[in-house]
Symmetry: C2
Subunit: 377 residues, 2 copies
């Protein structure tokens, strides 16, 4: 075999967290109890036809692209259907960008910690990943400028809004500054935005892509609709989009035509803003329940993020502790989390961990946090 790859430790862990008695804060899953099962069932029934069972254009369903473009435009990112490529989840959008822009030895800049399946994608491409320093407001533009000068990365990867795993949001001033660095150096930036609509507090920040054409915006149906359908989309400048369409054609010809058509019917028939408001109301309660329990769950000196939206709280424990050694004990007590080390491209901070608050109701969160306290304290 020409190449070897290693499995994701989080993935192996999640297999253990699937026992029904486990209260899992590990998965990055949306709440299944909030899926609009009836709405989606009706949409599939309406969308299924000889046309949607046949091969379809690689670019994606024209109705879906128009509806997504209108939605992005309303959110502050002027977009037309022609700017968009529908992808098999936004994970595929990232994989296509990697294929189009990187080759073995290419350099990718990331904030640390960051989304681990993105790191895996860069590793598979043989890219070298370099971290950019940041703080609670996200990546630091001055640090980025220095990394760009020194390392000449092809690509900067960011989850600017409610980041995975930290829950942090890059502020508007820094967005403008990062866009300026990208413009100046001809750097491509990926704005991975699966969580942006899940805001429970504060005012929306303009999409990073609204500041520069060097920013590729990745969106997803997974957190506002349902992830099982694997529907994402990618907004890119025309020349790069043409290349990405060719790369996608080789990758899977096109994304499920029926799933795309059903999503288009659903977006056309449903008040998705109302549905998202419902998600946000439920997730706000769940975040509040988790954050309220943290003082009695963690040892003195623990720090955590209190995110304005998204799905995750990020913890840093005090002292010389390795959360990777605690996760087995947690599973014995029927509670699961993700040790933080997996989210680092370079030197991990092993005292960190990620908790997801989305899939458990407040009662379950309270009970899970009590179990977790017996491990952490």
């Amino acid at each position: 075999m020409a190449r070897t790859f290693t499995s994701s430790p989080v993935r192996d862990l999640l297999a253990l967290a699937n026992r029904p008695e486990v209260i899992s804060f590990a998965g990055g899953l949306p709440a299944p109890d909030l899926f609009d099962v009836d709405g989606l069932r009706a949409a599939f029934d309406q969308a299924l036809s000889r046309r949607t069972l046949q091969y379809a254009p690689t670019e994606g369903d024209v109705d879906l692209r128009a509806l997504v473009a209108a939605r992005m435009t309303r959110r502050g990112l002027p977009t037309t259907a022609a700017d968009l490529l529908v992808t098999t989840g936004s994970q595929q959008a990232l994989a296509l960008v990697v294929t189009a822009l990187l080759e073995p030895g290419s350099v990718v800049a990331v904030e640390e910690p960051t989304y681990l399946a993105a790191l895996q994608c860069f590793q598979l491409a043989g890219a070298r990943v370099v971290p950019v320093a940041g703080d609670e407001h996200g990546v630091d533009p001055a640090a980025l400028a220095e990394v760009v000068e020194r390392e000449r990365p092809e690509l900067l990867y960011l989850v600017p809004t409610f980041a995975n795993p930290t829950g942090r949001t890059l502020d508007a001033g820094r967005r403008a500054a990062i866009a300026a660095v990208a413009d100046r150096h001809g750097l491509w930036v990926v704005e991975d935005d699966p969580y942006g609509e899940l805001r429970f507090r504060g005012e929306p920040v303009p999409p990073l892509a609204s500041f520069s054409d060097r920013v590729l915006h990745l969106g997803s149906f997974s957190k506002i609709g349902a992830p099982g359908l694997r529907l994402g989309w990618l907004r890119a400048p025309e020349a790069l989009l043409r290349t990405l369409v060719i790369v996608k054609q080789a990758a899977d010809l096109h994304t499920s035509a029926l799933d795309q058509a059903a999503a288009a019917v659903y977006l056309g028939a449903t008040d998705l803003d109302e549905h998202v408001r419902g998600l946000c109301a439920a997730y706000r309660e769940r975040r509040d329940a988790m954050v309220a329990a943290l003082p009695s769950t963690t040892p003195e000196g623990t720090r955590w993020t209190d995110p304005d939206g998204g799905m995750f709280v990020w913890l840093t424990l005090p002292g010389d502790v390795d959360t990777g050694e605690l996760v087995g004990k947690a599973l014995e007590r029927d509670v699961a989390f993700v040790p933080g080390a997996a989210f680092y491209a370079t030197t991990p901070d092993r005292s960190t961990m990620r908790l997801s608050f989305t899939t458990n109701a407040p009662d379950g969160i309270a009970e899970g946090m009590r179990r977790l306290a017996t491990v952490l304290r």
Copy 2:
């Protein structure tokens, strides 16, 4: 941008062939009039649930894998669910194999002509493609052995049964000989088998993968069910399958969970053998209509294949003719075909062309062939 890619000329052509007045023999599409719309609609209605709307394991739906494994076993390739990875169409299976096994500069051996989206996949990976000589019985094992000695390919790519574009089938003796070459040299072989069940004449030939563990078998729901769902599968030895699962995780996390579950419900509830017999009966009539019209459609000295199954007839015109120059004239007369040059990795035979007989009923085929005669004769 680090890399540049070119679009598929056939793809650009197909855009022109979409006018409703065109009788198209160009697309490699299954007949939409034969889709089991009602059966699939019922399957989607039954399969849609909170579980199938959620994220799912990368390996694929366990029920679908078990049903596909049983079907492959009945077709002469003993298979368990654990041997299979569900993919987003068999195009993705090929793309994953390419990512796992090839790197820039790797060598891939192919029969010529061959499936053009496979060639595109190899080109994207930066591989060098070398042809292996063959004849009407498929690739020649002695020629393969010589290419393997000389070029040391990592991979041999074949559509052994009812090949795209030629319709040819590799005979059993050659399959055994090719498997022996693969075993002897540690060569990986891809058996791309989207058409294998569409046999209208003669006896089934054992799958190439039944002769050697070095053969990766790619199957698809596209030609026996519906291509819009993008469902394929890949059978590989355990160690390589583990790597392919990791590669797929980075590519799109998993294939649509709902589409997989619906296909499992459909396979469990339907007599697919009966459905396939119906497809074969219709396609046999359509092939017969096309082959019967060929003598009056083509100039004296034209050669064509008369396939035992699949979707394609392959023509070689006499003399110094370039079918790429005829296709515009054909479209003016509202008939479409694919010029053969695109299916060659090296020096094309420009006097060739591919005709698909699947999507038109015998009447339409007769009319399309009359139009084509005015271009070819």
